[in-house]
Amino acid sequence: MNQEMGEKYKPFELVRKKKFNFKENFFLSLIRTLGFTGAIILIIILSFVAYNGISILSWEFITQPPVEAMTEGGIFPVIMGTILLTVICMIVVIPIGVTTAIFLAEYSKPGLILSTVMMSIYTLAGVPSVVFGLFGLAVFVVVFNFGMSLLAGALTLAVMILPYIISTSEEAIKAVPYSFKEASLACGATKWQTIRKVILPAAMPGILTGSILGTAKVSGETAPIMFTAAAFFTPGVPRSLFEPVMALPYHIYVLVTAGTFIEETRPIQYGTALTLIILVLGMNLLGIILRARQRRKKAW
């Protein structure tokens, strides 16, 4: 009898997949493939640049100035130019950005002023970078009379990255639990004491991470420094804020388009690109590690 029943119902048949489900499998593979597109593109770009640039990368390449009309030698002043531009930009933009974020997160009340400020920040974030370049040219280079200089370029980059710094800092400040603020005020702290002693220290890792990622963005920009800071060639590292600088992204642009020895400088072009990518990825990695660490450490 048992055998009979087994043959009749075949219980395992009910849960066994009956046939190959074409539709399900097709979309699954499609989604899988498309989902990896971003990663694949990144890998292609990285390997392309690395393949072409790795041969020239050496200690000399990153520590020597260019020679022989830039067909030989290294890119030391170019790297230093980018680092100087970025550092000065950050020194200017972080205090302004964090202060604005404090205002937006802690002091502003909903209303016309707040919505105007918010709208301006969003709009600023959407402005193409070349427009910032022209703005920098008009304001910092001409009106303030800084000339094509490290300072004018750093300020232009600062204006460009400001909305990003404001929004990441604001998010970090808003992520601080309300209970900390409540506890501090209930201790009889003033609003400013609360911000300085409780809110900012708790928000600092987030602000720092945002700033590092902002730095990475800034260091790769070409358009904003094109008319404000970048020089085709300088004999060395600038000795003052008012001298023009060489910078990695602009250097690539110049070697590829404007030199008389475009073919001869190919390896240097890729070497410079590789250096820039390593710099930017390195900073991004630092930002990501910091963020991961801070998430793990966060006790609230």
């Binding site: 009340k109 639990p177 209970s179 900390f180 603020k181 409540e182 506890a183 501090s184 005020l185 209930a186 201790c187 009889g188 702290a189 003033t190 004491q193 002693k197 409780v198 220290p201 708790a202 006790a299 609230w300």
Partner: protein
Amino acid sequence: MVDSKNGKYIFEIKKFNIFYGDLIAVKNVILNIELNKITAIIGPSGCGKSTLLKALNRMNDLIITSRVEGQALFQGVDIYDKDTDVIELRRRVGMVFQKPNPFPISVYENVAYGPKIRGVKKKNQLDEIVENALVRADLWKEVKDKLHESGMSLSGGQMQRLCIARSLAQEPEVLLFDEPTSALDPISTANIENLLQELRKNITIVIVTHNMQQAARISNYTAFMYLGELVEFGDTDSIFVNPQNKLTEEYITGRFG
């Protein structure tokens, strides 16, 4: 020290209303809170008990839509007068919250927070304040070897006592407790209740609680609130043994709430 008429009441609340925007949260409350006693405010969720408590040290100011009508006096001074020094008020009227909320800094720094922002700088003076506050909060024995570990590494009950110590370091005259044990286990709750009895000797305590047994166990006076109004106020014993109002009776016998 106490400036009001007979010196017995530290808070005198007179026809007091609190609004959130157009919504009235506390209606026409008249209540006197006696010096160095424990006054419990009980009532179902949303009855306005926490709102009333938070008015006593103006923590309601954080909610920008809130406003008040009527008078609430602290030692004869109108709490909501525009000349009232809110910072000094909050030093003298401390607050402990429902969820323990130590800062993410060391145990020591948590307790030293208030004195430090008030300008106490000397190390030995701070050490003394911190030890004193932790002893009074009955936490010293448990944390004296980990003063420099994070306040957030303690257990829930310890964290809540740390928050009490942080308030005590300000030498407050009043401590407001907003359901301080609702996030704690029974043993931690008992510890805190014992602590409140100890503190009452020289601090006035106002406690909002969901837990009627707790109110009955620890308080001298009980106020029962319902829908923003103060329904009944009196000696805890008479409120629980012989409530005058039908609503109070229904609430304490658990017929609603």
